[in-house]
């Protein structure tokens, strides 16, 4: 039986006239069990880039990875394989099959491997078509509520305008989860990040095609460990209160603010996708009308809801005090994750400025990133930053852009920018 727990970390004391309350809410799930525990069924779709650029060892590695993935999809799981170029095609079940998705069993696995082996690369890249086809395939089994996809590409989404991809992402958001993987150095981090963020997945760089298979294996293992197919974060604010933002801050930074749906006039829900036994941190910021000194009230109820039922709740409080020793303190959790969120944007903005040739801005932003990574103890970010900038003074964020930094190193830094280190407790 899945158990959720919500723990609140905050300094509830506000100075006279204070209005903004910040809290970190740690949500932990335990006893979740594997995917399909709920009995609703699990579906997996693997989307393989078969555009012309994949020709050669890259396609061979991708085919091998897809076949490894088939070995790791357990019997009974609904699955399909999609190949994508400027158009998307269902590879298995075969395009002429009467059903779009089938349940895994040994014969299906063998036939699907044969289908994958016959894949060849040609054409351009239009990922919107891949996403829409995956959505159509999932939709043929409406009872299967836990839907997960893997998207693998090696290139830029060059065969269509960006807004077409954005429209497709918007259209399929909330219908399935998708992890996005870029192999090599010719793909665009921001494109895959847009897909993965909206579809509650992760984005990763796979530098060496030989590593795709292992990555697919771990992605499937993670997906299949998620026994809760969909959980919502709900935030209640009092009459007159206002949510400033709701942000997942660990394991990665994801801004959920704009993804609010209304439950009641005082309660908004934010999607969090499927859960395994894991814990995630959320930063909730609420603005309240100021109250007189000595007043205490609830600033937010932060709840976890599964299947429309609240399974855990934490209380965010506000108390106005004239004691500066109470009000001046910043919760270490809030400070840590505020820094981590700023770190993510400093890296992304710095790399974007560098790509645009604005070296001054890039130096300042990446310098700030170095400083924040050091302050918040994010060693992974520090080591990735080191490959892109020369660090003169970590504490003050004085850096020089590294001449001849490889594109792969920049992409690795970019894709990892949203990964946060947990606060030390």
């Amino acid at each position: 039986m899945a158990t959720f727990r919500a723990e609140v970390f905050q300094n509830e004391f506000l100075p006279d006239g204070g209005t903004d309350v910040h809290a970190i809410v740690t949500v932990s799930a335990s006893g979740v069990g594997g995917a399909g525990t709920s009995g609703a069924g699990v579906a997996e779709i693997v989307m393989i880039d078969t555009s012309g650029s994949m020709t050669g060892p890259m396609l061979a590695a991708a085919k091998h990875a897809a076949q490894v993935a088939l070995d790791h999809i357990p019997d009974g799981t609904w699955f399909a394989i999609v190949s994508g170029s400027h158009v998307a095609q269902r590879v298995f079940p075969y395009p002429n099959a009467p059903v779009a998705i089938v349940q895994m069993e040994p014969a299906a696995r063998a036939e699907a491997k044969r289908a994958v082996a016959r894949l060849s690369a040609q054409g351009g890249t239009a990922m919107s078509t891949w996403l829409r086809l995956a959505d159509q395939i999932f939709a043929t089994q409406p009872a299967v509520t836990q839907r997960h996809a893997i998207l693998l590409t090696d290139g830029k989404n060059e065969s269509e305008p960006r807004d077409q991809l954005t429209a497709a992402v918007t259209a399929v958001t909330g219908r399935f989860q998708c992890d996005a993987r870029g192999v090599g150095e010719r793909w665009q981090v921001d494109e895959l990040r847009e897909i993965a963020t909206a579809l509650l997945g992760t984005v990763e760089l796979i530098a060496n095609p030989a590593d795709i298979a292992e990555d697919f294996r771990s992605l499937l293992a993670a997906s299949l460990s998620r026994g809760v197919s969909d959980a919502q974060l709900r935030v209640w604010t009092p009459q007159g209160g206002q949510v400033l933002f709701v942000r997942q801050v660990a394991p990665t930074v994801e801004d959920l603010t704009a993804r609010r749906t209304t439950v009641t006039p005082l309660v908004g829900a934010y999607p969090t996708g499927a859960w395994a036994d894991e814990s995630r941190d959320y930063h909730v910021a609420v603005r309240l009308p100021s109250k007189p000194l000595g007043a205490e009230q609830l600033a937010a109820r932060v709840q976890v809801a599964v299947g429309g039922e609240v399974v855990a709740a934490g209380l965010v409080k506000a108390a106005w005090s004239d004691d500066a020793s109470l009000t001046a303190r910043i919760s270490p959790e809030v400070a840590h994750y505020t820094g981590q969120a700023e770190l993510a944007s400093a890296i992304q903005e710095g790399l974007a400025a560098k790509a645009a040739g604005d070296e001054a801005t890039a130096t300042v932003k990446l310098g700030r990133a170095v400083q924040l990574a050091a302050e918040t103890g994010n060693e992974e970010a520090t080591s990735k930053l080191r490959r892109v900038v020369e660090i003169d003074d970590e504490e003050h964020g004085t850096v020089r852009l590294k001449r001849g930094a490889s594109r792969l190193d920049e992409m690795a830094l970019d894709t990892a920018s949203t990964k946060t280190s947990r606060v030390r407790r």
Partner: protein, 451 residues
């Protein structure tokens, strides 16, 4: 209410016209329902004192012979205000759920978590405002105050029928023969669970005093002093046992102790910390019987004026207390023989912060009597309300017992040999902790805090 008449409702906070039947202003979110019922003040959810509804005192009315003379009233039954009762005139139509009282701030439902489901105001808890009456002439009130989030003060009262009142006459015992028992304990706010410790301590001390009173000769000051010391030890035991892991904690729950027993012609007080007992005669010089175990008291002993000492930064640092980390828990005691009628007042610093000198407290009480008469519960309420109106920075507890005085006894201290001030066994060395580690300091509520 104007609902149903078609007349526009105007938000009391911003003046915006509100829809018929709306409970909150669309423009500014201010609650409308409470404003309709109680006037603009009703919209102020911030003031805990206003959030506590008028008390309902199920205790006996003054002079009600049928219910007087109870030796050991159950505090749970003796005059606790109904928690979160509906504010007068509030129109919480259809909002009460499962019998729960609606939010006093906005009339909304109070959720299971203790906060309003609409406006988030904390729903008052029973401990926020407690009233207790042990006899027509013995009563008290303990209140959370304005600035604190929890009431860590505790109150326990008793009235033991005097030896003259036996058998069927017990119910008719008069203040002149009764022994009144007042106990006030103030939980140290910086130590978690001190509210639990203070109530346990107060109740244990009261029970010890009430049980012992039957065996103590009415005019034996030394015996009464010993009983008060025993009550202090019983209170300490209770405070230590209040939480299971008290001894393992770095900051175990702790509290002050102030108790008074007032029998015919004799008044004895015992204390640890800075809760106080005053003797306020109708005629004559009012006295502060207790002498705070606090840094302020030490400064005064060194010659500083009361006003200056009580303003000093460490003023509220107490040097003795009850609880697992208390080394010396032997109450100091003092006895006096009232020469005439008057009031015994026991209180926490929530009251004396605003009126410290005995003359000031006497004036305060005199004014209160002029306002509300001489019922001790009404007077206690009045003094608590006055402290809250003065700022209410701390929890406020006031307990009063009426002493008719005896013509026989002269005024002044009891027999010198009975005065434990001179008794080495009951006047131990005052211990002062290093700065910063004093449980009573700083005099602010740190409350539960995020790690």
């Amino acid at each position: 209410m104007v609902s149903g008449t078609g007349t526009a409702v105007v938000c009391p906070a911003c003046g915006e016209a509100a829809g018929d039947g709306a409970r909150f202003c669309e423009a500014c979110g201010a609650p409308l329902a409470a404003a309709h019922g109680t006037g603009p003040d009703g919209a102020d959810s911030a003031d805990p004192s206003s959030a506590v509804p008028g008390s309902t005192d199920p205790g006996p009315a003054p002079g009600d012979p049928a219910s007087s003379g109870a030796a050991s009233p159950d505090p749970a039954q003796s005059g606790a205000a109904s928690p979160g009762g509906s504010p007068e005139g509030a129109p919480p139509a259809g909002t009460a759920v499962d019998g729960a009282s609606p939010c006093p701030a906005c009339g909304g439902d109070v959720a299971d978590d203790g906060y309003c489901a609409q406006c988030g105001a904390r729903a008052p808890v029973e401990r926020d405002h407690r009233e207790e009456r042990a006899a027509p002439h013995v009563a008290g009130v303990s209140d959370v105050g304005v600035r604190r989030r929890r009431n860590e003060d505790a109150l326990a009262l008793g009235a033991v029928p005097g030896p003259g009142a036996t058998g069927g006459q017990a119910a008719g015992s008069s203040p002149g023969e009764d022994v009144s028992v007042l106990v006030v304990c103030d939980g140290v706010s910086s130590a978690p669970d001190s509210d639990v410790a203070s109530q346990a301590a107060a109740t244990a001390a009261r029970d010890t005093l009430v049980a012992g009173a039957a065996h103590v000769p009415a005019d034996d000051a030394a015996a009464w002093s010993r009983l008060l010391v025993a009550a202090g030890h019983a209170a300490d035991d209770a405070a230590r046992a209040a939480v299971d892991d008290a001894t393992a904690r770095q900051d175990p729950p702790s509290c002050t102790f102030a108790a008074a027993v007032a029998g015919p012609g004799l008044l004895v007080a015992g204390w640890l910390g800075d809760s106080r007992v005053y003797w306020l005669p109708d005629a004559g010089t009012p006295e502060q019987l207790t002498e705070d175990d606090s840094v302020a008291a030490e400064l005064m002993a060194d010659g500083m004026s009361r006003a200056a000492a009580e303003r000093s930064p460490q003023a509220h640092a107490i040097t003795r207390w009850l609880g697992a980390d208390a080394e010396d828990t032997t109450a100091r005691t003092v006895a006096t023989r009232p020469g005439g009628p008057g009031w015994v007042l026991a209180c926490s610093d929530g009251l004396w912060n605003y009126a410290s000198a005995p003359e000031a407290v006497a004036d305060l009480l005199r004014d209160a009597v002029a306002r509300v008469g001489d019922d001790p519960l009404a007077l206690s309420r009045d003094l608590v309300a006055w402290a809250n109106a003065s700022g209410g920075h701390d929890n406020v507890t006031v307990a009063l017992a009426r002493v008719p005085g005896t013509a026989a006894a002269g005024g002044g201290p009891a027999d010198p040999q009975d005065d434990p001030h001179d008794d080495a066994g009951t006047a131990p060395t005052v211990r002062r902790r290093p700065p910063g580690s004093l449980p009573g300091e700083p005099p602010t509520d740190t409350g539960p805090s995020a790690p």
